[in-house]
Symmetry: C2
């Protein structure tokens, strides 16, 4: 356990300044509200190691790719999330000496992220090289209520003597990404308006023409009394600064309130950006700092009401799971169907901020259970809107029909280019179909199918139909040349998971068509006309389903990850020299590929998704075979294993796997948190509690729980929303209490007991 984050149920707290950990803290203490995000960079100048990150959701850059040898079908670009205008900057000078924590003696440094309120506060005293001492108390947040608004209160108090405090808030468009393929700057400046009444800066991406306009308003006060002072204005190299010079007596607190609006051409007409930004920032200023702060607390209070998890008897676990929930809410609010969830959210640049199958496979359940229905629905509509691009993508790599969703995307176009991933990790298409099932099954929103879902299912089923071929040799349908979820195998034949999810998609598409024929034949007709779906196709899906080949080991009675898997030397991970782990840092790629070691759940991912189709004995046999060969070198691996282990009854294993996911970032287990937090795997952490220990499933329109609280915990409680009812579930080692917090009745099942829970009632069941 890494002691530099203090254990606390509601806050992330760092005590003492450790420059070598600063980039990790910048990730951990990140703020976001779904519209924008901000790493915990210092407001004032800092010359030490730092990864600046101010991100606007949906604003990205198609960076030139970097490849060894080009392959036909590769996309032209690799999208990058953009570090955009630095809006937090507030430079401080004490008698003309610049504050820079890298050169000061820093004392009483405390950084605290209140997850309850969504507020970051930093306090310290600094002794500058000259010997001058000041106290700083800086608080900031990005408003959950006013999405385009960020607010900072920055307090400076001279401690040793009277001082001239110079405060220079600015908007700085002269920023770079750390992650660029060819060292280019991605922004051009477009315009600024800068006078005593306003500071507005508009930057534009060099490609795709995203405009970001930032407007700033500042207020100064001394010991709480407003000070009217005229700043000196400066505009150099796309940096608009207001310089305020204040004579402060020893012990007097000089306060700057900086209000910023960040608006983009994604939301507003380009010619309106200045006006909108100016109006928004003035509105924020009118509301005032204290009221904005209260609103922020209220907004987060509501989030917690809907989605909190409490763990009694384990503060560390409590902090871990709240951090997970907090970051997921910061990343995606579901208001904008054009947005999605990047693997690092707003906490770093890595993985380009793009959308992966992580969203459907790992994140969707969180939003399904903890947010209003339209939020998860918008995640699905995101893919629906990309259907044409997915069709194009399939055409581009030679398919006559169907749709192949991209591996990595910003706008529906593929932007990854390793052939073994881009072209072959096609199981992602199955996850996108599965998410539709998952959503409909959870919400009961069958209209989604006729409105959007079926069209996607048909196009994915068509893709599988064309991708699967008949083997004369096997007299079965096969799927050659794929990469499964276990990316430590590339270009394999008959990956069980991919074969299975492909057939499942074709089966589900047929089932939805059959049901819709009964419930709304008119709607079906419309969709069939739109998609030009032939009876012949549906029949082919059925034929493939009946004659699909699945690799199987008759001796062990397990599904085989792929053809030829049994030719490998099957040596359990535990028998490897621990010095060789993680394999991806110690073994050459080809050695990994030809070894038996599994990066993340593959066959087991299928048993998790299609949990109701397989009995516990089957799950156990496959778990017993595969888990010992699994190195869990993807952050997405332990959660699925934890959930399955709970189901099988391997409680110690389940808890071990839970620990590997729960505090991954807080304790920097993978030694890479400086790049950003593992946002999508956090959703997996949430699943390992709610689906794993809570045993949540949906069956026949009923929310079912099979409790299994780890023996290390006194109790576990969490809230889920199901069919608009919000249920608080509290589990101890012996009892389960369910409480309906809404006026909507809820149909539940605890273990084998069906419970119809009336509004505002609760019920306790002994286990």
């Amino acid at each position: 356990m890494n002691p530099y984050i203090k254990e606390d149920p509601w806050s992330i707290i760092e005590m003492g300044f450790e420059p070598e950990r600063h980039e990790i803290s910048e990730s951990l203490f990140s703020l976001g509200n779904g519209h924008m995000g901000q790493r915990a960079n210092f407001e004032e100048h800092y010359s030490g190691a730092s990864l600046p990150g101010s991100y606007m959701a949906g604003v990205y850059y198609p960076d030139k790719t970097r490849v060894g040898w080009w392959k036909n079908g590769y996309p032209e670009y690799f999208a990058k999330v953009l570090n955009s205008t630095n809006w937090i900057a507030i430079d401080i000078f004490v008698d003309a000496e610049r504050l820079d924590l890298a050169t000061c003696q820093v004392q009483d440094f405390v950084r605290e992220l209140s997850m309850k309120a969504g507020v970051l506060r930093r306090t310290f005293t600094a002794t500058l090289p000259s010997g001058r001492a000041i106290q700083v108390d800086a608080t900031r947040f990005v408003s959950m209520k006013h999405k385009e608004i960020g607010v900072i209160e920055y307090n400076v108090t001279p401690l040793d003597a009277d001082a001239t405090i110079t405060i220079v808030p600015s908007l700085n468009g002269d920023v770079m990404n750390r992650d660029t393929n060819h060292g280019e700057q991605f922004w051009d400046s477009v315009a600024c308006l800068h006078d005593q009444s306003r500071a507005i800066l508009t930057m534009k991406t060099k490609k795709l023409d995203f405009y970001v306009t930032s407007a700033m308003q500042c207020q100064l006060s001394i010991d709480g009394n407003t000070v009217k002072t005229t700043p000196t204005l400066s505009n150099v190299a796309n940096q608009l600064s207001n310089q305020y010079v204040i004579a402060a007596k020893k012990g007097e607190k000089v306060t700057l309130h900086k209000f910023v609006a960040n608006v983009t051409s994604r939301d507003h007409a380009i010619d309106q950006l200045h006006t909108v930004a100016q109006a928004a920032v003035l509105h924020a200023q009118t509301i005032g700092y204290n009221q904005l702060l209260r609103e922020q607390e209220e907004a987060w209070d509501l989030k917690w009401k809907e989605s909190d998890i409490t763990i009694e008897g384990d503060v560390s676990a409590q902090q871990g799971i709240r951090f997970t929930i907090f970051q997921l809410h910061q990343t995606y609010s579901g208001d904008d169907e054009r947005l999605n969830i990047g693997p690092k959210g707003f906490t770093g640049e890595k993985y380009g901020g793009s959308t992966y199958w992580d969203t459907e496979a790992y994140c969707l359940p969180f939003y399904l259970s903890t947010a209003q229905e339209h939020i998860a629905r918008n995640l699905l509509i995101y893919r629906y809107r990309h259907l044409d691009k997915a069709r194009e993508n399939a055409r581009k790599i030679g398919f006559k029909k169907g749709a192949l969703y991209p591996m990595v995307t910003m706008n529906g176009e593929e932007c990854h280019n390793e052939w073994e991933i881009t072209f072959e990790e096609i199981h992602r298409n199955g996850a996108i179909a599965y998410a539709i099932y998952n959503y409909v099954n959870y919400t009961g929103d069958r209209d989604y199918l006729s409105e959007y879902g079926l069209e996607v299912l048909i196009e994915i089923a068509r893709f599988w139909e064309e991708r699967i071929q008949y083997s004369e040799d096997k007299q079965k349908y096969v799927m050659l040349g794929v990469t499964g979820p276990n990316e430590y195998e590339n270009n394999v034949n008959n990956n069980w998971y991919t074969n299975r999810i492909a057939v499942w998609t074709m089966d589900y598409a047929r089932e939805v068509i059959t049901n819709l024929q009964e419930s709304d034949a008119q709607a079906l007709l419309r969709i069939r006309e739109k998609t030009q779906l032939l009876d012949e196709e549906i029949k082919t899906w059925q034929t493939i389903s009946e004659k699909m080949y699945y690799p199987y080991d008759d001796k062990r009675n397990v599904f085989l990850q792929q053809d030829g898997f049994l030719d490998k030397e099957l040596i359990p991970v535990n028998d490897l020299d621990p010095q060789e782990l993680p394999l991806n840092q110690h073994w050459s790629w080809d050695r990994i590929l030809r070894s038996c070691y599994i990066k993340q759940a593959d066959v087991l991912q299928g048993l998790f998704f299609l949990s109701d189709r397989y009995d516990v004995a089957t799950k156990k046999r496959n778990f017993d075979f595969y888990e010992p060969l699994t190195v869990h070198e993807s952050s997405l691996s332990p959660c699925v294993h934890s959930i399955l282990a709970t189901e099988i009854g391997y409680h110690d294993k389940a808890y071990e796997m839970y620990l590997r996911t729960a505090r991954l970032d807080l304790d920097n287990y993978n030694n890479d948190t400086e790049d950003g937090c593992h946002i999508t795997s956090m959703a997996g952490t949430w699943m390992s509690i709610v689906y794993g220990f809570g045993g949540l499933r949906v069956s026949a329109d009923r929310l079912c729980f099979t409790p299994s609280v780890p023996k290390q915990w006194t109790s576990l409680s969490f809230k889920v929303i199901f069919r608009h009812a919000r249920i608080l579930i509290t589990m101890t080692q012996d009892t389960v209490t369910v409480e309906n917090e809404t006026d909507i009745p809820a149909k539940l099942m605890i273990g084998q007991s069906a419970i119809d829970l009336a509004p505002y009632t609760h019920q306790t069941i002994a286990l």
Copy 2:
């Protein structure tokens, strides 16, 4: 057939200037002498499209790599052959107007490469934009006798009026590669000496510190009479120029003889480079242009004496095969065991000028049969000298013992980085072992084994031993995760060819050990001590050999290219839409991978190498199965198929395949000759005549022929050197004549007739 190269038995002739073909011609008319090479760039300034190429053998640059995602074990650099100091430049001004064929009216343009003499000549008349007309007659060669010397005779004659002709020969070190990964210049200037008596320029590579020093001497004459004139000197940006101004009357021929020495730090001490270069160029000047030209003709005459092939009844084929022989001799002379044969020789930058398995698999036979023994031997010693690097390479990717030769190399280090090639196309190791067998079998030089060969064989066998693993499932040894010669499959299990060549290597190593035990036990002891070879290891090789798994199709009785090959849809290439060919330009990479289509001989490569182990019926079955699925999209493919087809008796197919390789560059079949000529595949062309139509094999120390002259030809004759005797073989449709041109008796076999051919005798056999 592309008519712009005139058919001629001894020359490559282009009549008329076509700027859009200029880069192709620059490749075709390239000159080389094994030490240096020069594309057919114009001497005078040319503003049109051109790929400048002056190459010094063995001088290369470790360019920074460009990858998408780094994989453990990748090398740090990708080596590049270097475009070095432009030593041919001679700028021409007519009354101060610069000659530039891109801006002139050009008439009577003829470019002729005499393959008989190794000389390039270009003549034309040009009308400049001002209307001034001149005739130009430029001849150049790189000396086969004086390897460091290049010579140019450049004649200018004013045609319309008297003129001031300004001639500016120069040495220009300010050059770039077209192929750079990050747009960098690879050279720094070091020093120059430039005065009325000398022009010497030394450039140094920015990495690895290769020095190249060029020294120039010039002579001027008018109508053959030497003119003494003092040039104006200029030295700007690493370009040393001598400007001569000559008043020439209409019809007077102004002649510049430019002698250049290019010497490198590979051959001389750095502090001696200036001295050596100056001495060399002065020596050349003393010999004089005409004598140098005679020496050049003599040197080439000798080459042709040893290696000519004549085809009667087909000028086009005659020209094609002479071009092949000519280019191979230009590329590699075998004098320097540190050198090897890049895929483009000295004709372009593509493939980095590095060494591939092409050398052992395709080029070695040409040098074995057409050059003195030490030349092929040096090709083997090249790999012996790299043995330590190959051991390091194996360690780097995780092998405890053995050696893995690199896929692409300059100095023994791997410099390619696609995992599916670098890590997995390991059959190259087998080709390097096979080349040792091939050399010893052909030359009878068994001493090579004890001196060098066995050590390499042991280390390669050890690599295979570790790379092969035991499959409990199959109860056989298997080899997983390889890429075979057919690069249209990646990361397959049990590639038949790789399994076969691996076991063959282990068998051959054991055989050599057994033989050496009898013939020279002392030598064996020394090698076993040096390599620390255990009896245990030799035994393991035997065990693997006995229990190796080879994929096989019992139904068709053919070897299977790899596990799972029969799951593919086996549709012959002929049934594809011709619009889709070549596949590598029309299909996405994954579609190619999961298709049945074969880029180049794979199983058939094994049947070619190990020809004496398989009967004709086996070859026929496999050919019948694989050839129809083969797209021959590697220039190395048709030759092997042509040879096998001849052996099987598919004469039309053999000739069809021969045509695909024979004039590949002259007719620019693959539409890529502008990048350079396909030098290594030319050796395959040579093989398809001598091994294919000539049926050359070596068996029991006897040189065997099975003639099969294509019916399109009247006769075919070629020379081969065998055990120091040079034999001229002339084949018609009905007879074979063998003539021993040396004083060494030769043991031959024509068809089933053994012939012991006495010195200077000949014998004719009816077929």
